[in-house]
Symmetry: C3
Subunit: 154 residues, 3 copies
Amino acid sequence: MDIYEKLKEMGLTLPGRPAKGGIYQPVVQAGNLLYVSGQGATRDGAAVVTGYVGGDVTVEEGREAARLCTLNALSCLEAYTGDLRRVRRLIKTLGFVQSAPGFHGQPGVIDAASELLCQLFGEERGVGARSAVSCNELPGSTSVEIEFIFELEA
Amino acid sequence: MDIYEKLKEMGLTLPGRPAKGGIYQPVVQAGNLLYVSGQGATRDGAAVVTGYVGGDVTVEEGREAARLCTLNALSCLEAYTGDLRRVRRLIKTLGFVQSAPGFHGQPGVIDAASELLCQLFGEERGVGARSAVSCNELPGSTSVEIEFIFELEA
Amino acid sequence: MDIYEKLKEMGLTLPGRPAKGGIYQPVVQAGNLLYVSGQGATRDGAAVVTGYVGGDVTVEEGREAARLCTLNALSCLEAYTGDLRRVRRLIKTLGFVQSAPGFHGQPGVIDAASELLCQLFGEERGVGARSAVSCNELPGSTSVEIEFIFELEA
C-alpha cells in the first residue's frame, strides 16, 4: 500500500496547503533533504487546537494538534514534490508543545505525530530522530508546532 | 547588485564579529551547508535589545532584535567565507523569541530577519524554510536568538 | 589517544543506551550526517537531574545534566556506529535548558556539554556550531535536553 492508500484506509484527507504566516518557503530542498517549515495545528488556514497542554488543553487534544501539524507538513510536501510517493523517509522531527506550568509530557504529545508518520510510511521509512520540547508561547497560541526534515527519493 | 551593494544602499554596515559566549564555532560547514550558531541581539559584543517581547519589549523592538541577529549571522558568515558573495542561499531559519506571557506574535518578529535576508539575497535565494517559536528565557535576556543554515556556492 | 582512552583517562564510562520515550530512532543517518535525538539528563534510564536551572537546580547541577545528555548521545552513537572512533566530528548542538524565571545563563550550562566533547574529540573535531536556549518545561522535568548532529567518517 502506498501513502495515498494508507491515508484513505485511515480515513484521513490532506488539508489544503496551510496559509503562510510570513516570509518563508513551506519546503526547501538541499541535496536530497527536504526542510519543512514549522507547522501549527491548523486546518485549511484556521486554528484548530489552541491553548496550553497540561492546562486548558488535554494531552489527547495536544495529540490531535500534533497530528494536524503532521498532515499540514504532508500537504506542503505534496505541493513541493507533486507526489508524496517521492518522499523516501523521515529524517528528523523537532516538536514544540505549548506547555502549561508543570507539564512534562511533551514526548507523549509529539508521539502522535510520530505514530502517524510510522503508520503512513512504515517502520522502515517513517521513524526518524526526534526532539520533543516545550515553548511557553507559540504563534497564534497553537498548542503544538513541529518542523521536519524528510529525504526525497534519490 | 551584489549583497555588499545592497547593504550599502540600505544604509547597513555589518557589525564586528559577535563575541563568543562559550565553546562553539560561529559557523561550521558540512558538505556545502553552513550551520550558523545561534545569534543574539547584540552589536559589537554589547547587548542591544533585551527583555520580553509582548511585555517590556514592543514588537517593533523585537523586530529590530531579529535584524541584529541576522546582521551578526552575516558577520560570522563573512568571517568564515571571506566573501559574502560566496553564500549562495538561505536554507533554514530557527528563531526563538523571548516572549512575555500571552504573546503569540513570534512570526511577525522573526519576519524582520526573513525580510532582511530576502532584500539582501533576493527572493530566489533569500527565502528559506523557517520555524518561529518562543523561549521563556534567553541568554543574557536577549529578546531574540536565531540560528540559520545557509548554502555555500558549489 | 582515541576517544575510548580519553574517556578512561577522565574516569568516565558510557551509560547504557538510554530508554526511548516514544516512536523515534536514537540516531538517523543522512549522507554522512548523524542526527542524534534529544537526550535528557538520565543515567541508565533513570532521571538524574530534574528541575529548573536558576531555581531549584544550580548552574553546576545544570552543567552535570548537560554532561549526562552528552554521554547519552555518545552511547547512542556507539550503538549506531559500533565504534565511536568512526565518528569524525561534531557539527551542531542545540541545547534546551529548563529555566527558572529570570535565568539567563543557558550558554554556561550547555558549555559543559561542549567542553566534554572538545576534550573527547579534540579542538579540531569536537567544537561545532551551537545554540543554547531555554524551555519552560522539559520531558520528565529533565533540567537539560540536547540534540546533536555529528559527522561519520567518510
